[in-house]
Symmetry: C2
Subunit: 319 residues, 2 copies
Amino acid sequence: MREFVLAVDLGATKILLGIGPKDGTILSKKRLLTPSGDPAQVLDAIVNGASQLMQDCGVSDKEITGIAVATPGPLAYPEGIVRDSPNLNWKRVELKKELSQRWGRPVIVEKDTNMAVLGEYYYGHYAKSNHLLYITVSTGIGGGIVANGQLYRGNIGGAGEVGHMVIDPGGRKCGCGRQGCLEALASGSAISQQLDEIINQGQGLAILACTPPGQKPSARELGIAAREGDREASLLIAKIAEYLGIGVANLVNIFSPGAVIFGGGVILGLKDLLLKPVRDYVYKNVFALNREELVIDCTELGNDIVLYGCLAAVNKNYV
Amino acid sequence: MREFVLAVDLGATKILLGIGPKDGTILSKKRLLTPSGDPAQVLDAIVNGASQLMQDCGVSDKEITGIAVATPGPLAYPEGIVRDSPNLNWKRVELKKELSQRWGRPVIVEKDTNMAVLGEYYYGHYAKSNHLLYITVSTGIGGGIVANGQLYRGNIGGAGEVGHMVIDPGGRKCGCGRQGCLEALASGSAISQQLDEIINQGQGLAILACTPPGQKPSARELGIAAREGDREASLLIAKIAEYLGIGVANLVNIFSPGAVIFGGGVILGLKDLLLKPVRDYVYKNVFALNREELVIDCTELGNDIVLYGCLAAVNKNYV
């Protein structure tokens, strides 16, 4: 009998579904908008979307050997309960239990950044390191940790919140309510805010010129302007890179990882414009011992990294 | 036959030796000054001191089933090579190899903060948590990590350098050359520096009044003055506590530990004066999920925590 894994990457704005054989490849994908209604509608959309995808691929229920779902956090482990999630705007949803009931079988549920680090660890380019740090630089900033060859979730599932490391106590206000979190300084939304401020001051004309009419400039337009040689854009990228560098250097001195792997739209979009100065900062500022074998790179799994993690979670018998 | 473990806590100023039966208790201790000469003299002092201690206790070579040595870092693992150690002022010493040769048997060598977290994990009050963070607040600030029930050293032994987490990029200069490291803001030496500055400005008279003639005030005198109700002392402690709080809250959001356990002379000396505001800050500022089961306390193993870790390293078959 053929064997397939069903993978679900639940996000605040979209749901990405994937199906793949047990070798860790993705056969087919499907993308849905996340319903904005109550949690039950989101769960229904996941289950219906999955049925549709299976039908499209000609895969039957019996051929699915495992299902794994990635969700924005916080996610209480091992219960699989989403708790006070700002992204999903969910107070408390028993995601693991609800989905297991709907599908009538056990479902693996992990925080999306944890799935991503599993994706990289088992199917990524840097799979060889047993001490791996995955950092997503997207609308927000989050992390996933493999320590001693194992996914590290901490005591209750809340590990990896590297975006809420305060690195500038007097700095910009964060969505979490504190000030100077890495996420408040160097995430996609922090970039958008800073671009807004620049534009409102009547500056950043080259960045504005790259922005489609009726839109606000974002990390994407910042990158276009910087590549075209705009100084203001380059200066803002340098500032973002320094904050990211401080955060990553802190993490490297704490974890001594074999590799720091970045994912997420902002850094995968800006690529070397952002990666290179971050890498330079980190290599220059961490202890010699921690620098020696350290790899710092973007994932080659792109935006599918979380789906790959879901495949890994099933194939490597996570629960 | 009786079985004993030999434990060595090598420090920059003193060497603490301990001997104990295999149940994780300490039978007898000995304290030496660390020779200031070249590394060979230090190694000789360790070996001779150990022989003396064994003789004092009537323990023979044959009765020693294992030897473990804790050293200031950086320590390359698994080779056990001390590298560019600012504390010991050693460039490169093959500590594991050299001591194994001198004793004619394998010796376990770990960074002192790693030994300390092992001490707490196996013989401390908070042994029950599989996700444990040990933080020493002493002349410097360092850390030891137990993740998923295992000591976490990272890729090359350099993990746990929590004192060199930058949390205020424009802040005080650190011994490591950077600015605004936690150690530069909240360690014993940072406290001494800030007391110096206060005194040099003609302030801090109550703190000075607690200081023995001919000495400079330190964390100890700061504590005495604060307990006597001095406002300047209380304000400085509040400032130190806030920085420590920021650092520990960052670590709690990264690790989601079951317990954060403090050791080291400064915090064990100041006790609740420092522990309480740090604890309050952390509980108030970390994600709800990470706060729920979190214990924050000082170790009950006191200054022997590293020796207990050495006993654990042997008894639990670390290599």
